[in-house]
Symmetry: C2
Subunit: 589 residues, 2 copies
Amino acid sequence: MPTRLTHLFVRTLREDPVDAEVASHRLLVRAGYIRRQAPGIFAWLPLGLRVRRRIEAIIREEMAAAGAQEVHFPALLPREPYETTGRWEEYGDGIFRLKDRKEADYLLAPTHEEVFTLLVKDLYSSYKDLPLTIYQIQDKYRDEARPRAGLLRGREFSMKDAYSFDYTDAGLDVSYMSQRDAYERIFRRLGLDYAIVKADAGAMGGSRSEEFLHPTAVGEDTFVRSAGGYAANVEAFTTLAPEPLPVDGLAPATVHDTPDTPTIASLVQVANDAHPRPDARPWVAGDTLKNIVLALTHLDGRRELVIVGIPGDRGVDMKRAEVAFAPASVEAATEADFARHPGLVKGYIGPWSAAGAVLGESSSTGIRYVVDPRIGSGTEWITGANEEGRHVFGLVAGRDFVADGTVEVAEVLEGDPAPDGSGPVELARGMEIGHVFQLGRKYAEALGLKVLDENGKLVTVTMGSYGIGVTRIMAVIAESNNDERGLIWPRNVSPFDVHVVAAGRDDSVYAIAEDVVAQLEAAGNDVLFDDRPKVSPGVKFGDAELLGVPLVVVVGRDAAEGRVELWDRRSGEKTAVAIQELPARLAAL
Amino acid sequence: MPTRLTHLFVRTLREDPVDAEVASHRLLVRAGYIRRQAPGIFAWLPLGLRVRRRIEAIIREEMAAAGAQEVHFPALLPREPYETTGRWEEYGDGIFRLKDRKEADYLLAPTHEEVFTLLVKDLYSSYKDLPLTIYQIQDKYRDEARPRAGLLRGREFSMKDAYSFDYTDAGLDVSYMSQRDAYERIFRRLGLDYAIVKADAGAMGGSRSEEFLHPTAVGEDTFVRSAGGYAANVEAFTTLAPEPLPVDGLAPATVHDTPDTPTIASLVQVANDAHPRPDARPWVAGDTLKNIVLALTHLDGRRELVIVGIPGDRGVDMKRAEVAFAPASVEAATEADFARHPGLVKGYIGPWSAAGAVLGESSSTGIRYVVDPRIGSGTEWITGANEEGRHVFGLVAGRDFVADGTVEVAEVLEGDPAPDGSGPVELARGMEIGHVFQLGRKYAEALGLKVLDENGKLVTVTMGSYGIGVTRIMAVIAESNNDERGLIWPRNVSPFDVHVVAAGRDDSVYAIAEDVVAQLEAAGNDVLFDDRPKVSPGVKFGDAELLGVPLVVVVGRDAAEGRVELWDRRSGEKTAVAIQELPARLAAL
């Protein structure tokens, strides 16, 4: 049976909802797919639910093909397992917590590692039971500070989350690749561009971790990619370090007065004016070594200052710094920090002074000094001389100072070389649509999931965690498939295969349209039928464009002559087709 | 592809879980269908999820056949709509409440009348848009004081809840019957016995209300039914009142000393000993009129005493009293209540009127006196004389006293006549598996859902609400379909069509079993295949019985001769079948 617009629970809106910032949100509300219930919380109308179900079906098929088995956990879970792994606290304000009538603590689960681990512990005890990958498609909750962009970042959202269980690292690699391959198949079937980027594992812990990012202007993540195929989250980008250079024969460092040069720009200017290079090449920001004081707060509450040295042509990327120094949190040093360390001359900090090394391995400030990988042995720099208004020129790393290590905190810039040698990178915006993690033994260890191995020895299980945001994917598809007139669904997630519009005032047009609909349904098409008797063709066409079924069949004035119009919503192309050829034409598409 | 027991995420348990009170809970856990996460909160393993999905599919098909459209609401909802209808308070401790990071109030919805009403208000505005029935299958939450019996009464549970919208009472009747008919089809397809009983509308308000009760010993409800087809919840049972009798010619009432007769039994004994009837028929408890003092607490907090007169052969059913006096709450009068009313002589209370006692010391307490419908005009009673140690004999209702009305609070007893004249009723235990309500205009009024009618006049919409407990139904089916060895699923909800057991040590048996499985799958059967190589046939048969797939095919010692055993799990019957005939035999069942 076709779905009739005289019956379907939908109303299209002419106006954009006031709170909609992005196209997907605007169009999904206007076309009657979803409705807001609270910030980041939506109700699903029949059209929205149909698209969601089709996405879910594709995911389920590929999970089954990957040998993953479906289970289902509650959203409401007790505190204890999350307490054991420390996440009850770690999530901070980011989750919904509640108490039952007996004052027992519960949460609305943001992700289910703990209870999947415990379920496997409950059922399985031998290496023979493994490998195992189980998953669910389930509504999850996060109390986002700023729910935004409709379904792109909601507080209630549907996710497919899978978890793999192995007893060897090699087994985990196989399970991981199996899910990773399934994700590639899923996104290809959904018609979604994606970049697989190396990702920081963040709060989930573990080792290997990749994100599937869909390139889109509304994306929340910045990632880098090279023409040669490299892709990484900015947090996971690694700098190509130069080969060590010989230090023999380099001129000794010299200290110069450089008054009023607290910034890199002012320093470069003074350097070029007062201390030009012998060969007249101008000094540039990249020739300077900028030393920045960061304050770490460790998990035990201890505060530690760290000085990071980076080329002066870029800043510190605090997100990269968070990852580099995790699990400590990072902020810029405060005035109070400087006050406690009068040896740090703000604006003129360097690793060396006329008295010798002041930072790094051979110094005695007690402050760790770590540098960007570009500050390699044999490289020469202009940098602070640890005296107000003075800089040192030609300071050589590895000769004049030795840092306590390297660190990846510098901004990534367009044109930086990809670490795999595949050429310069560009920066792009992306939305995370999937994430595969090697969790390793973190959760199994915390919750005591062990199995007996071939030798009868108890070994801790190693796990992977694999997530796809179902409702977010729907928004991302809508975001990348629309024009100014409405949505344009890819065929395999469209709520209907074809949208038939009866466009005319004649009863005969409606009778022929009924016949066309019946033929299309008989040929296996899921048909949306605009059978509204008193609505003008113009309004019907507008609604068809807004709703976004990719194929529209218009039964209009030529219907009596046995012809209808086949309308490709994406290209706008309209073709006259004989009614008897229509089912075959659709099947051929 | 078959599901292999070497791969399926399941473990059967030999021991009953300690907390399982009923067969369904015990067996669903032992057979690896569900696992407890917290009181009344369960995780679903692959087998459990398969049964649940099949039940959902049947419900979805019948909803579609009834013209209902599927939508989906969040579980997490803001307080406001529930505040508007008063249910935020009414639910008391029965729901989960929580706050988000901005201290806004939310609840985990126990049922969704409010937000469905608001969604229709958002989309629709004309009588032409109606009738409309929309539904969801969704996880709901109630903070039960005593979650029990596994899935029978959980705190997280899946429900299909549908809501109908009409603008005329006649329309509501049609929508109501459409859902009611769909429920009958659903329960028939699920193989579930049911009685449709008149129900009290309870907290939902509204007029017509029926429950679908599945008769089962573990049921939480008592209901009455007659051989002639009457069925009602005990709360909704109405008493057949006798025709008024003439009072002329009846002997005048006489007061007698009846020392030490505070109970009906002691009163009947003294009556027979000291005051026998002239015709020597013995006095029985049903000849006495018992007057019981109840204390009502009204919504505004006011406490009111009410005296109810009922035949002495039965007590007050407090659940019926709750309904009779709703929305006030009811309890027995306390000593303090009696102390405030010294005119009430405990154990000897007689008919009363608002003006005071009709017998004994006169007072003007203003206490309402309501009686059971059996206390009809012209009936004669032995009852208290409102004096310590004295009763009145031959007191005639309608002559000697007139009550302030009738009330349905007396216990219903086996043999009571059905109100529709269909004969005596019996009492049965039942579990509520569905509920259909005519909500009327309560929610539409509270939330302002109006549409323009044919005359352009705004009219308030009238609604129905229709619920089926999906997870409870699964438990009820398990409860009514098992034996001491395990579950026995009805075919149309079984997790698999057939369970093939390779029973033998020979590799050839496994090879033939693979072939049998392939043939059955090719014929469209969903096959569970016990391919475990090192498990004894006895253990495999035990697991097959526990898991409860209704048809089992044993590939064993006769396999080499081309024969397998077809085993009917319910009857226990085993038949030798030639392998080439097996698919046809299964298809014929």
